[in-house]
Symmetry: C2
DNA sequence: CTGAAAGCGCTTACAG
DNA sequence: CTGAAAGCGCTTACAG
């Protein structure tokens, strides 16, 4: 029940200028004398003024809000991605609205209705190529759209070369003695939204092993959902197939963490009896000494946001595809190093 | 790039009425002749008109949008909850905007800024009692707030009696021969947002076993994150402690499903050698024949939405607390029944 | 560089 | 029951 929010009018009064001028500093018009601008900013500060996005939208056609549609899965990956996106957006004074995609039906409704929450200035789609669900493979919106962690010839896309990531993993593990195993992360049950990153990683991995002349029988592959517990089950399964030393490539850091955890629990020396290589390069991998194929998630998010800003500013060229490359980071989990205890 | 959205003016023109009348049918004013109303509705239909929520917000102070803040975890529970909320909101022509809570910092920013996405007419908070993060234990908003799956004396709340649910589970399992085990679901790593439902379920369970004179040693409890794989690990752990028949109470259906899965895999007869009781009553439990303590999630969501609507319509009484009771549903997983194979 | 005015798409008294 | 008008908080030519 705080007092009514101040408007541009009160700011103008306090700064001793017209309301047009306040609007101009709000919109970074260069035709405002630095002195005036400072006075206005001060007034805004003192009044605790924030612009009303509804009014901005109504008056100027822009609401300074961007929508991010993302899978409804709480992973470190999306946390990082959103962080990257938000970083560049905030700089340009844009807000973002997150849209977890609970179901296809919901998405449809979002896009086809003119829900307030959806009347934003631009869209970023993460991981899912949603366009396939709409006729003409185009989203029913006239706002700019950018995909991240996905590819589509009709829209700007920012993606990681997951195949290459798998290859790096394969080449690396092929150098160690002992059999090689892999954990694949299952696609989500809702087949309507699929992404292929995990399949691509595995394909690259297979190719590299083949090129290195290392065998990779089908029973060396374990599939599970994205969970730490899945990694634990995987290692148990592998230990039924072969005895240490074992080399394990986990398609995601979270799963790799489970492998690590179970190895410790079973009293196996990580980095020697069980070598583990993850994928993603999440911050926690450093703490636990997990080797990983790192992807610059934040940078990818930031790039996506930049592409979108350009579009919102009028750029109308053909769709751009920005490819990022993963990077192998070697840590204790693939290195024998007696003095590196794993602490969960 | 579809042609510009039609406005209220075009609708008025086509219907041959003033724009005030169009607005009136939009807002369900009773002072519109049925005949006129029909004409206007027809015109809207033909034009594909949808009102601009920004303009409504600006002009009338209401945007007909409600925000739902929910944990960023993709579970059946939240899918059902949102469905329940949405059901009653749509009926009243309200839209909803979902806000997955990625982090506490984000929440703060949401609430304290006047992000477009947050300028809605009311708030529903799911599971987390976020108020504790703000001074005065009140959210920094002057809009009505309702909690669901959580309790707070300062706001309307809708919650399940989880303790009772645990008791029902304990009383029920106490009737069977064989040792009793339980899987507890771990709280989330981010301690800033905690909820206590799983602890409450376990407390009720313990109490019931005690009352029934059934032992429940500490080693009969297994804690895991909310994942199917966690249930599988749990059953393996239990089988190290005792041999069948075993009775297992899983604090969540998803985990119970993992127990079921692992039992099948190990060739144990579900319902006889391993009895499993879940919690939540999710739709899939019926398909797999899983006994469960059902909670009326959709109904809880609907109730929360109703409470909020009442507040938005001006109701200003003291906070209300609506308590729901769970219900035991008995199925094959706790019933010996040779002809009920479990198919994953 | 800056004011005053028109306009964005609606709602809501105010008259009739 | 229904028009015509004022107003919501902003942006943006248009003048100066």
């Amino acid at each position: 029940m705080s007092k009514k929010k101040p408007t541009i009018l009160e700011v103008a009064a306090r700064a001793g200028v017209g309301l047009g001028t306040v609007s101009r500093v709000l919109n970074n018009h260069k035709s405002v004398r630095p002195e005036t601008r400072a006075r206005v900013l001060k007034a805004m500060e003192e009044l605790g003024y924030t612009p009303n996005p509804h009014a901005r939208r109504i008056a100027g056609g822009r609401s300074y809000t961007v929508s991010v549609l993302l899978p409804f899965v709480a992973t470190e990956f999306y946390r990082r991605l959103v962080e990257g996106i938000e970083g560049v957006l905030l700089e340009k004074r844009y807000d973002l609205a997150l849209f977890p995609i609970l179901s296809q039906a919901r998405l449809r409704r979002y896009l086809e209705s003119s829900t307030l929450a959806f009347l934003t200035d631009g869209l970023i789609l993460a991981s899912y190529d949603l366009s396939e669900h709409f006729e003409g493979s185009r989203l029913p919106t006239d706002r700019p759209v950018v995909l991240v962690d996905a590819k589509n010839p009709r829209y700007d896309s920012v993606y990681l070369d997951n195949f290459l990531g798998g290859q790096l993993a394969g080449e690396y593990l092929a150098r160690f003695p002992g059999p090689i195993f892999a954990v694949k992360v299952e696609e989500e049950p809702d087949r309507a939204f699929h992404h292929t990153v995990f399949a691509e990683r595995l394909a690259g991995f297979r190719e590299a092993l083949k090129a290195a002349g290392r065998p990779f029988p089908e029973e060396h592959l374990y599939t599970t959902r994205l969970s730490q517990e899945g990694g634990r089950l995987a290692l148990r399964y592998f230990l039924e197939k072969a005895s240490p030393p074992l080399n394990v490539f986990a398609g995601a850091d979270q799963v790799a963490l489970g492998v690590l955890e179970e190895a410790e629990r079973l009293g196996l020396t990580v980095g020697k009896e069980v070598r583990v290589l993850g994928f993603d390069g999440h911050p926690f991998t450093e703490e636990v000494g997990l080797s990983t194929i790192a992807q610059p998630v934040e940078a990818m998010g930031a790039r996506a946001a930049q592409l979108l800003l350009e579009r919102m500013q009028g750029y109308a060229g053909p769709p751009r595809a920005v490819r990022f490359e993963p990077l192998l980071i070697e840590r204790a989990s693939t290195r024998t190093s007696p003095a590196v205890p794993y602490l969960p």
